[in-house]
């Protein structure tokens, strides 16, 4: 299930949003858990806090649903899917340590999907390895990753 790709841990049974560095796990028939993948954590520097929406809140794919702040960086958390945020992980609001300790077990929001077809826009588990390698290379070329 876990694989090491370009120096990062990756779970090859999850969906990925490669533009925003999220992993997405099917939770129930119409809900998903969303978290930040190991690469997404790394490129931000050391994250100090997350701001997440107060559920229930409807979000549209591509819209801002929160913010992430690190020691030298602040940026929006963009919704990878359209739907309703039905729960946020209070553990990561209180402290971000668990994001680093278990990035693929520490979800940040749970969403009910507007439409099951939403997942079609993501990188499917079958294509995740190659897609991930390309993402790492992109950030490496931009000088964002340590060497």
């Amino acid at each position: 299930m876990y694989k090491k790709v370009s120096g990062y841990q990756l779970r090859d049974d999850l969906f990925y949003d490669q533009n925003n560095n999220y992993w997405i796990e099917k939770d129930t028939a119409d809900t998903v858990k969303i978290g930040i993948d190991e690469l997404g954590l790394d490129i931000s520097g050391t994250i100090s806090s997350l701001s997440l929406p107060l559920p229930p809140q409807h979000v549209e794919k591509g819209e801002e649903m929160g913010a992430l702040e690190a020691e030298k960086f602040v940026g929006p958390l963009i919704a990878p899917l359209s739907g309703t945020v039905i729960e946020v992980n209070s553990e990561v609001i209180d402290g971000v340590r668990s994001l680093y300790e278990a990035p693929y077990e520490t979800w940040i929001v749970r969403m009910s999907l507007k439409d099951q077809g939403e997942l079609d826009h993501l990188v499917a588990p079958s294509g995740s390895l190659e897609s991930f390698k390309m993402r790492v290379e992109r950030y490496r070329k931009a000088g964002i990753l340590s060497w």
Partner: protein
Amino acid sequence: MQTKLNPQTQLQDTKVVFTRTKPGRSTTKESPEWVRISAASAITLGFKSGRFAREFDFGGINLLLNYDDGCRSDCAYCGLARTRPGDYEDKSFIRVEWPLVETAPLVERMHLLESKLTRLCISMVTNPYAFRDTCTITDSIVQNVRTPLSILVAPPTLNRTKLEEFKARGVDMIGIGLDAVTETLFRSLRTDVPAGGSGLSWTQYWKIVSEARRIFGPWKVNCHTVVGLGETDFDLVEMFDKLVGQEIFPYLFCFNPEPDSRMGATPKATITRWRRIQLAKYLIEEKGYRVKDFMFDSDGSLTNIKTPSPNELIAAANDGIAFMTNGCPGPNGEPGCTRPYGSYKPSESYRDYPFLPSTTDLQRIKLELDLEGLTQ
């Protein structure tokens, strides 16, 4: 745009080797073999992944000496203070972690990225080994990297001879972290402290300022002045005037409370006060204003600026330079040491800009400055 070399780039013409200077202490990660570097420096040199909230060219590399027993000083506002709770290794400095790296590969990376670097600085701490180790690190840098080097000195460890040695070894500029701008404040925050006795005295600091000025020359020495430690606006303006009169740069820093330090609960200066002090310093440095050109109330707060024309103040605010980070210049006089997000969080208003403020930034700055309230 942040630029880094490809990690596969091979080092071909530099090899930095350190020999241990403290026999018997070789298992520790202390200077000169190890140093701390700022988070921004670590990102730029590829020691740490990360990015800045806004993209800009960053090349000001800050090093900090590291010792197991830390800094011998106990300044009320400092993250490295002796009596601040926690292990020295885990302490933050200006509120973020300073990664510990080996000096040799650090110098190698600075050599590789030299064309992108604008200013290097070694920050001493108050420690008996600090002078010797600073010399060792200086030699290594000067031999391998042409970027101008500053030293932020620890006056209790220095005298004239040692400053002359820094100069002889190729140090370009000297910084003195005066921080508190009056003797009374200096004594209360840095001398008469719970773990005192490290020799931090107003007299010794000024002795080093004078010696450095004599040895390094005009505009090659700077004094750090912090806004928000309990001083008045008058105290600051008077200090800027005094330093500029001696051809010494006053560098402005915004107090940013370090959690758990003795001043951890003290709020930082309001943004309006901070902006007005930035403008006042700029007017003194660049436009020839003197103390007499500023008016203060009975509490020493700046109330008015006597100007031939309000347009002059508006123009001064509009060019944006007043609100940029104060730091030693790069090789061509450009901003060299820019310390992004050094005294504010990325989500907060920039206290000082590591780049020339944009038009949008200037609109915000002018609201914060409330210039009309200062010229009526």
